[in-house]
Symmetry: C2
Subunit: 450 residues, 2 copies
Amino acid sequence: MGTAKTGRKLHLNAFLMDTGHHEASWRLPESDPYAVWDVEYYKRVARIAERGKLDSIFFADSPAQGHDPARRPPGKLEPTVLLTVIAGATEHIGLIATASTSYNEPFNLARRFASVDIASNGRVGWNIVTTAGADAARNFSFDDVPPHKERYERADEFVHVATKLWDSWADDATIADKAAGVHTVPALVRPINHRGRFFRVDGPLNSPRPPQGWPLLVQAGSSEDGKEFAATWAEAVFTAQQTLEESQAFYTDLKARAVRRGRDPESIKILPGIVPVIGDTEAAARDLEDQLERLIDPEHQKRNLADRFRLDPDALDLDRPLPLDLLPKEDEIQDAKSRYTLIVDLARRENLTVRQLIARLGGGRGHRTFTGTPVQVADTIQHYFENGAADGFNIMPAVLPSGLEAFVDKVVPILQERGLFRTEYEGTTLRDHYGLARPANQIHTAGVAS
Amino acid sequence: MGTAKTGRKLHLNAFLMDTGHHEASWRLPESDPYAVWDVEYYKRVARIAERGKLDSIFFADSPAQGHDPARRPPGKLEPTVLLTVIAGATEHIGLIATASTSYNEPFNLARRFASVDIASNGRVGWNIVTTAGADAARNFSFDDVPPHKERYERADEFVHVATKLWDSWADDATIADKAAGVHTVPALVRPINHRGRFFRVDGPLNSPRPPQGWPLLVQAGSSEDGKEFAATWAEAVFTAQQTLEESQAFYTDLKARAVRRGRDPESIKILPGIVPVIGDTEAAARDLEDQLERLIDPEHQKRNLADRFRLDPDALDLDRPLPLDLLPKEDEIQDAKSRYTLIVDLARRENLTVRQLIARLGGGRGHRTFTGTPVQVADTIQHYFENGAADGFNIMPAVLPSGLEAFVDKVVPILQERGLFRTEYEGTTLRDHYGLARPANQIHTAGVAS
C-alpha cells in the first residue's frame, strides 16, 4: 500500500442524474419517476453522498430539452437552484453545477456562483461547459451551435472576466465602521474595465469576494480545445476513458500541459467517470446489468447514435458492426468531439455490433462501467489511482439512490480501510476537500488593505 | 367597517433590503452590518414576515454595484438564490425576486423561475424590470442603457416568450408508464418556435410546467411605458406615491388600462410602497425618524440627487430650494422616469430645500413614510384601502428586522382585528395568497391530453 504510506488520497465525486445514469433506470420497480423534479429526493441522495464523505456531488446541464421525452425524464431542475436547496440540507459536501459560457453573460454567472458560494459557506464548484448541440443554440437566437474553436475562445474570455469580477472586491473590503459611516472601503471595490473580443464588462461585481475566492473551476471536455482550456483553468477535470491505458495517456498529457503553463501538476485533479454496477457476488452484479440492458429500447438508441454520427438511422443495422467507413472524422464534428472519438474507437477496438455498442453506452454514455463485487470495484479504483491514471473518480451510479448507496456503504469502507479515502471531512470548503488552494486576488494584491 | 363586511382583504408584501430601506440603517447600534451577506439573517427576517401571515417577501435587484460602497452595503445576494434558501426555511410565504429582461435571456430566466417555483412548491413571483442605469449596461457589453421604449418592447417580447416556455409542457405531460417505457408524452411537450424582433427561441423548456403555471408576474415601473406594460402583464404592481390623491389616480388609471385590455380589474393588485416608522407613542416614532435622519450624510445625498437630475453637485445648495428651472423634463430622462417626476413634484409642492428633500428621501427613496403609533399606521392603511387607492401595501421597513417586527407584532393584529387581513394562510401558493388564478395553458389547451 504505497499510496497509503504517501498519504495521497482519492477524490470522489458523485455525478447525480435523475433516477440514475442508465437511461432506463426510471423504469425499475424501485424507482420513482416523478422524483426527478422533487427537491426532497435530491436532498436525500446528497445526504447519502455526504454520509460516504465524498468530496462533492455534481449535476450536468444543458439549456435544451434535448431528447425523446418518452425514453428518459426530459427536464431538469436548474442546477444552481437545486444545489442551493441541497446546501441547506447538507453541511460538508461540495456542490458542483454545470453552466454554459456560450449562453450566459459573465456578470450574471459570476454573481450567481458567488451567491451560491456564500449560501453554502464555500462549497460550490462550476463545471464550465461550452454546450454542444444545435437544440440549445436555437433557444438563444442562434441558427446552429457556434464553431467549436470559437466556443472555447469565448469560454476562455468568459472565465477570465469571471475571475476578475470575483477579485474585484478585496477579501477585507468591508470594515463596517459605524461611527465613521464607512461600510465598505471604496478603494477595495474596484472596476475591472474588461475590453475583449466577446465581452465588455466594467464591474465591479455587486457581491463580496466568495468564501473560496473563486468557486472551484471544473471542466469536462477532452477535445484538443477542451484539454487546452482545462490546462489553463481547470482545477478538477471529469473525463471519460474506456481503458487503463487511455486513462493513463490522458492523465499524463493533461498534467504535462498544465506544467507547461507553469502550474503545479497537483493543482489539477483528474477524475475519470465510472459507472459502478455493484453486486454482493459477480453474478448479482451481472444480473443487475442485464436487467437494465433489457429495458433499453434499441431502435430509439439507434436513432440517437445515428444523430451523433450525422447518419440516416437506416444506415445502421442493430446486428451488424458499426459502418466505420461512413462515419465523419473528429475534425468534422462540432459537438462533443472527444466523446464521438471515444465511441468510434470503442466500437472499432472490440468490433461491436450496433446493438452491442448501444448496450455498452446505455449505462455510462461512454464512461467505463465497473461491474463486480465491492472488492472488485475498489481494486479497480485503487489500480487506476496507483498507476498514473486518476486522482480520483467521478462516480456515475446507473440507478439512484440504490447505486450510490451500494457504493457508499460497500465500496467506500474498503477504500477507507486501505487508507485511500478520508474517514472524516477535514476542512470546510470544496477546495479543502480537493486539497486545492484558495486563489490569490489578482486585483487587490497583498498589502493594499494595510 | 364596510370592507370587513364585503370580505375584501388587504395584501401585504414585505420589501426587504439589507438592514433596512433607510440608507443609514446599518449604522444603528442594533444593526449587524455584515448580516447583509448572511443567509441566516434573511431566513430569520423572512420567518418574521411569515409569522405576520404576510402574502410575500420581495428583494429588488440590479446587476451593478451602483453606489458609494461606504454609505450603504454595496453588494447583494442574487435574489433567486436567496429566495431558494428562504424557501427551505419557510412554509407559506410567497417569494418575489427582481430579474432584468434587458440583461438576461428568456430561456434561462423562465427556466430558473420554474425551478424556484418547483423548489418552493409554488411560491415564487418575478418582479419584471427593464433595469435603469448605465452602470448595469456597462456590465453587459453596452455603452449606455438602451432607450426606455426599446427596453419595454424587449420586456414585452421577453415575457411573451417566457409564458410560452412555461406552457410548452402540458400540466399532465408526465405519465411515467414504466411498462410501456413512456416517461413523458412527447405530444405534450411542444416547441414554441418563437421568431420575434429581439429573440428566436425554439423551446420547449427543459422543465415541467411550474406548480403555479406561471410564477406570479409583478411589475414596479410607473412611467407611461411601465403602466402599459403593467396593464398587459402584471398581476401585482409595486408603486410609489406621496399622497392619497396620487395613489387614487394611479390606482384608477391602471385598473382602467387593464380593463381596456379585457382583463378583470381584480386580476391586477396594486400595492403602494410605504415606509412605516412605528413607535408606541407619536413622540417615540418621531424620535426614531430623527435618529435615522441624523445618520444621513447630506453631501453624499446631494451628489446622488445631482446625478439623478443630471446636474453638477455645485448647482445644488443644501439650504435653498431645489432649482426647478435647471431640471430636465421627464421625457428627457431615460432612467426611472416616474420616480424622477415624483421627486420633483414633492419638492415643488412642499417647497422643500435640498436638505429637507434629502431627509424625506432618506427613508423611502420616494415612497411615502407613515410615521406614528400602530393604530395611526393601521388607520392610514385602512383609509387608503377603503378609498380606492390600494389593494394592499408594499411594506418597506426603514430598519430590519426591528421595523418589520414592529409592523408584524403591532400593526398586523389591528388589521386582523378589523377583519382587513388574514389570520391564517388559506391556500398554499403565492397566487392563492393574492387571490389570483392559475393561468390557463396557452399551448396545451383543455382536452389535448384526454
